[in-house]
């Protein structure tokens, strides 16, 4: 096992070695983050030193902006050499920006930051290194563009949507309007200004069962567009696809994961059993638009999914099927209030997500007592999702030997 030389964990001690490592990442066919960082005044040595020391140089810092309590992240290097203040900025629903807005944002990033931005779609745009002495002014400038900072810490985080009706054929409800509705809901608006939750809160809006926002994995409240019964088949149009050789109807039926499709060769019609259909989108994807989602559209509301949380990740549980996302607003309020109340009583601990809270209360009791909804689905249990292992030297050696064989196989 290679050993790492012990030096004081400072940027200066590792900077030189760090620069050599960084050069490695400027090469290669994929666009380089290091090359982008180097085009700006980013303190690249802090990053390089981290790679050389194999420890992050960053520790929590502090910052104060008048009457703004979320939406910025302060860091300092452990040796005090550098400090950073990042702005996390709310994105418009669907994350579509006109170039006019982008030019305004670029001007903002260059005036108040280093000319560097993290285009993280799922959690808000992160503007790197705002000059702390201009942070107050920067908030006003950002608001003049039409957005604001937010979504950091134990509060409402970025509410994510798929592209929805703006550019997708499968959007079964208006995910963009849904996010706007929740973002401006009086209670959510009230909560997002402070950090009073046990941990973060995320909601995700997916227009169809493809779940592009992965609401089933990473949302405390997930909204997924569905339909009742079978997909809608335009038989004439489907036959045309068959005749043109675009779709093989027998293969289409055989590959349906729900086993709900039959090709009636005599009548040359596709027959789909709606009671069996699990909404896998297979036939729709293969023969769109001859096969489309059914007309009777609904929204599946899921609760308690998360990746990060005290007891490991969880997949979400079935709360209810609704006709309109507004029906769920009251459940969100009741759930968050009970979760916060749980923390006051000591039952919910700091860093417990809503999924952890529901686990402690019990899902059945949560439905009966917190949201007062009749059970509509059957929640599936699974071992909690986690990564990590506590190994001794011998075990590490075993895995090293195992992986070295693959390294040799690929001649790396």
């Amino acid at each position: 096992m290679e050993t790492v030389e012990k030096k004081p964990l400072t940027v200066d001690a590792y900077a030189e070695e760090g620069r050599r490592i960084l050069e490695y990442y400027e090469k290669g066919p994929w666009p380089s983050h290091v090359a982008e960082l180097k085009k700006t005044n980013y303190p690249i040595d802090a990053y390089g030193a981290g790679l050389a020391a194999r420890k992050t140089m960053w520790a929590a810092g502090s910052a104060k902006i008048r009457f703004v309590y979320t939406g910025f992240i302060a860091r300092r290097t452990r040796d005090g050499k550098y400090a950073e203040l990042h702005f996390r900025v709310w994105q418009p629903s669907g994350q579509i920006y006109t170039t006019q807005k982008l030019r305004q944002l670029i001007e903002f990033i260059e005036k108040y930051g280093l000319g560097l931005v993290e285009l993280a779609g799922q959690q808000g745009m992160m503007i790197i290194s705002i000059q702390p002495e201009k942070a107050d002014e920067a908030i006003d400038a950002l608001r003049a563009i039409g957005t604001d900072v937010g979504a950091t810490g134990d509060t409402i985080r970025e509410l994510a949507t798929c592209v929805g009706p703006a550019l997708c054929e499968f959007a079964l409800y208006d995910t963009l309007a849904a996010r706007d509705y929740f973002l401006t809901h009086p209670k959510i608006y009230e909560w997002m200004s402070n950090q009073l939750f046990p941990f973060k809160f995320k909601a995700k809006f997916s227009g169809c069962p493809f779940d592009c926002t992965r609401a089933v994995h990473r949302a405390d409240f997930g909204f997924i567009g569905v339909w009742e019964g079978a997909p809608e088949v335009d038989q004439a149009r489907f036959r045309e696809l068959v005749e043109r050789g675009v779709v093989d109807p027998v293969k289409l039926a055989a590959n349906c994961p729900s086993g709900a499709i039959r090709w009636d060769a005599e009548r040359r019609e596709l027959v789909i059993d709606g009671s069996k259909c699990k909404k896998s989108m297979h036939c729709i994807r293969t023969a769109f638009p001859a096969i489309k989602p059914g007309k009777n559209r609904k929204i599946a509301v899921l609760v308690g999914g998360h990746v990060k949380g005290r007891f490991g990740g969880k997949m979400s549980k079935p709360l209810a099927i609704v006709n309109d996302y507004k029906e769920a607003a009251d459940w969100v309020v009741k759930t968050v209030e009970a979760w916060m109340e749980g923390m006051e009583k000591g039952m919910v601990k700091h860093k417990d997500r809503i999924g952890d809270f529901i686990m402690k209360v019990g899902f059945k009791r949560y439905l009966e007592e917190v949201v007062k909804v009749k059970p509509q689905g059957k929640p599936t249990l699974h071992p909690s999702l986690r990564a990590g292992a506590v190994l001794d030297d011998e075990e590490r050696k075993m895995w090293l030997d195992w992986v070295n064989k693959i390294v040799a196989e690929y001649k790396l």
Binding site: K39, S93, E169, K278, G377, A387
Partner: protein, 366 residues
């Protein structure tokens, strides 16, 4: 003044941010066609057509305004004057003809940015910030993402195709901000129980043992999901801390709340989790499972990580059916079989799992 300043300026309604061409066709999209990997044509009921061009960005999606300005220039010259950021940081350009879309592809490729990421390809490698900003990172996700993208680029552009879509998540620590529920996930962890400096750890503990007698549990102990961190009063009245190694699962929660919990970087590495998916296709949504508890993470080349990911992709490519996501394939053949194919030793940290029941929206249909 203060009351006024407390008010948020949220970016609503979203229509204020939409280009005219999308506003006109909102909710009217009726058909789609694919033009190679990375270009999708959307057809509106109004007869208008929009072509999206999906472009890969640097690890952790960090771009300079210099680059962003060039993107904006291209979007104005050949596109409809707008850009979209996807959930995992790809950038989508939009144009009103295939000719212009191909011109956009040509222009971004000239700048060194690849086009791809649709269909049976790699859609994205999602990375957390790790050593760029994070305080709890164990390994550096962006540099791992860079070497993986360098090694796997033909799978993004579609030069080589896969059985189905592939998403990779790279997270610097078990908090997994970069995610760990995709098809292949790499998550940094200590590889051992946490260490701590006996002097500095006092900053996370009460000064006097009397606080413990009164029932106070310091957060660094309380946050542990397995009760592996014990705090106790010492005879001199101060407070001590012990990590019970046999109970520890290396989840890193203690370091989340106390910066003086530490780790030995020569023992740290990444765990490999596979088979997660959110989409309701195939077997439906699935959680991911840790299959390889530890491989070392050694910059700059991360050879071991690149090798493992290549191997998993190759075995999947050779054995899966058309359209079968990694999770669907492993579910069908069973984890034991998958372990056999890769000669993976079975330990208490990677016991094979077979999921019963349905996840996601299928829980309503069961």
């Amino acid at each position: 003044m203060s009351a006024e300043r407390l008010k948020k300026r949220l970016p609503v309604p979203y229509t204020d941010w939409l280009p005219e061409a999308l506003k006109r066709n909102l909710g009217k999209w009726v058909d789609r066609k694919f033009h190679g990997y990375g270009i999708i044509e959307h057809v509106s009921a109004t007869g208008e057509r929009i072509f999206t061009v999906k472009v890969g960005t640097p690890p952790n999606f960090r771009v300079s305004t210099d680059t962003l300005k060039k993107f904006v220039e291209i979007a104005d010259t050949y596109g409809i004057g707008a850009l979209r950021i996807t959930r995992n940081g790809n950038v989508e350009f939009m144009a009103d003809s295939l000719e212009k879309a191909l011109k956009i592809k040509e222009e971004v490729e000239k700048l060194g940015f690849p086009v791809g990421g649709w269909g049976p390809t790699i859609w994205s490698i999602n990375s957390c910030t790790a050593f760029l900003t994070c305080t709890t990172a164990v390994v550096d996700a962006p540099s791992i993402t860079k070497v993986l993208y360098d090694a796997l680029k033909p799978y993004f552009t579609g030069e080589i195709t896969l059985p189905a879509k592939l998403r990779i998540n790279v997270s610097g620590c078990p908090s997994s901000c970069g995610g760990f529920t995709a098809d292949i996930n790499l998550v940094g962890h200590y590889g051992d129980a946490p260490t701590y400096d006996p002097e500095r750890i006092k900053l996370c503990l009460p000064k006097s043992a009397k606080a413990l007698e009164a029932g106070h549990v310091p957060e660094v102990a309380e946050v542990c999901p397995t009760g592996a961190i014990k705090v106790y009063g010492k005879p001199d009245g101060s407070v001590g801390l012990d990590v019970i190694r046999s109970k520890c699962i290396a989840c890193g929660r203690c370091r989340d709340v106390c910066d003086w919990m530490d780790f030995d970087q020569s023992k740290a590495g990444v765990a490999v989790l596979i088979g997660g998916k959110a989409s309701n296709t195939g077997r439906g949504p699935l959680p991911s499972v840790q299959v390889i508890p530890w491989v070392p993470a050694i910059p700059p080349a991360y050879r071991e990580i690149v090798a493992v990911v290549k191997k998993i992709i190759d075995v999947w490519r050779q054995n899966a059916r058309e359209g079968e996501r990694l999770g669907d394939w492993v579910y069908r053949i069973g984890m034991e079989k998958f372990y056999e194919m890769l000669n993976i030793p079975v330990t208490k940290w990677n016991k094979p799992v077979k999921f019963e029941g349905e996840f996601g929206i299928r829980q309503f249909l069961a």
